[in-house]
Amino acid sequence: MSNIKLISISTFIIIVLAGIPHFLETNTINVSNYKEKEVVKEETTIKVSKHPLEGKWKVDYREEGSVMYQLKMEHNKLVGYSIKLMDVKGQFTSDHTKIFTLTSFINNKGKGIYSVAYKNKIYDIPCKLELKSSELYVSYDYYGYKDTEIWKRQ
């Protein structure tokens, strides 16, 4: 079989196998966007639609205290800052460190980059998100360091 024929057939197979999930994904987004628009249209008189993750979230880190995060839109991207650090005695300090960037979020699940400080170093870790009513589950697995944080909406 000639090389041109091999390349043509292989390219076709790759386009079909990669194209199907992208095509269905695009269509699903269109449907969900359409539904979202309908809902927004009904609610325009009440409030302006915002990203479902926007707002303040609190996380308890067992023996290390807790942190208050704020997720907000910046330049059309959802980003997160730690805004308040509380120790176990309840004393707190204000903060403004960028810790999170959202990369995708569909049907209450998504992905992002979570910046975690460990031994004075910042590590950008890919994480997965799942929103369940007023709790956001942030899971990551970085070279065997595995955890799921539960962020509670404030």
């Binding site: 292989s10 197979i13 790759i14 196998l17 992208h22 995708s104 049907n107 997965k128 799942e130």
Partner: protein, 292 residues
């Protein structure tokens, strides 16, 4: 149906089901099957020291392969996968059945081309010849790996990540293809029903792939599906009784000799070939190529 295939899945569930096949099949399927193969050897009066030492050597090469794989993974492969995922990829695909099915099929197609390349270029064959050098054909042969076997698949899996698939899903799919391939290394299963033999890679098709009979050379590269071979012109059915091994046998069960014999033979060929360009061509031309 489309709604079901498109329904978002939970990562924990997906990893669980992959682990049932990818990891646990060793315990509930592969080891028991290998024991039955040993019993069969005994019944047929073929259970020799050579089979036992060959099988032990196979498992030792697996240990060396896994060590190299881990080193590559820790040094750069994992970072490279995620860097490509976040910087050079099409929009990321959600985790649903359609994504998983297409990812496994793409991983299988990538396996076909990776496998074909390992047979058709000198440096590829230098490592893959290890897998083919056993004169026996049983489950343990599936674990007989060469020193660079962990490197070449990277060239074919990174493009799948670039197409928007999650790197972890790509890795799980590749292991899925590899485990399916493992199950094909047996003489116990003759031929399966025709529709299965037409679509899927089977022990019969894979015996042909391991044959040193001239008509069986460079045939049946597929992992899960044999249709890739049918489409791309490399299919050969099992007709003549298969003679396993390579055309120049190594006649050794020393794991060190087995693991490095391909690279050693290639090194010797490069050393005796005259001219710098010709030496380079030894690495990328087919294994039988000789300079004029």
């Amino acid at each position: 149906m489309i709604e079901f295939l498109n329904k978002e899945l939970n990562w924990v569930d997906v990893e669980y089901w992959f682990s049932i096949f990818n990891d646990w099949s060793l315990v509930y399927l592969i080891i028991p099957f290998f024991i039955v193969e040993l019993v069969r050897y005994k019944i047929q009066d073929r259970l020799s020291k050579d089979v036992i030492f060959d099988s032990i050597a196979n498992v030792i090469t697996l240990g060396a392969f896994v060590t190299i794989e881990y080193i590559i993974g820790i040094l750069f492969a994992t970072k490279l996968y995620f860097w490509v995922h976040y910087n050079l990829s099409l929009p990321h695909l959600p985790l649903n059945w359609i994504t998983i099915i297409c990812c496994v099929l793409l991983a299988d197609f990538a396996y076909y081309w990776d496998h074909r390349m390992m047979h058709r270029i000198g440096i590829g064959w230098a490592t893959h010849t290890v897998h083919h050098s056993s004169p026996h054909f049983n489950m343990s042969v599936a674990y007989r790996f060469g020193p660079l076997d962990a490197v070449f698949p990277l060239l074919f899996s990174i493009p799948i990540v670039m197409l928007g698939f999650d790197p972890i899903l790509v890795l799980l799919s590749e292991v899925f293809v590899q485990v399916f391939q493992t199950l094909l290394h047996t003489e116990m299963i003759k031929k399966l029903p025709k529709p299965i033999e037409y679509i899927f890679n089977t022990p019969s098709h894979h015996r042909v792939h391991h044959g040193s009979n001239r008509q069986y050379w460079d045939k049946n590269y597929g992992g899960i599906l044999i249709i890739w071979d049918r489409i791309l012109g490399t299919f050969e059915p099992e007709v003549e009784t298969v003679r396993y091994g390579i055309d120049k046998p190594i006649n050794s069960n020393n794991p060190f000799v087995i693991f490095f014999h391909g690279l050693q033979r290639l090194g010797k060929k490069v050393a005796t070939t005259k001219g710098f360009i010709n030496k380079l061509l030894c690495l990328i031309k087919p294994p039988g190529w000789e300079s004029k």
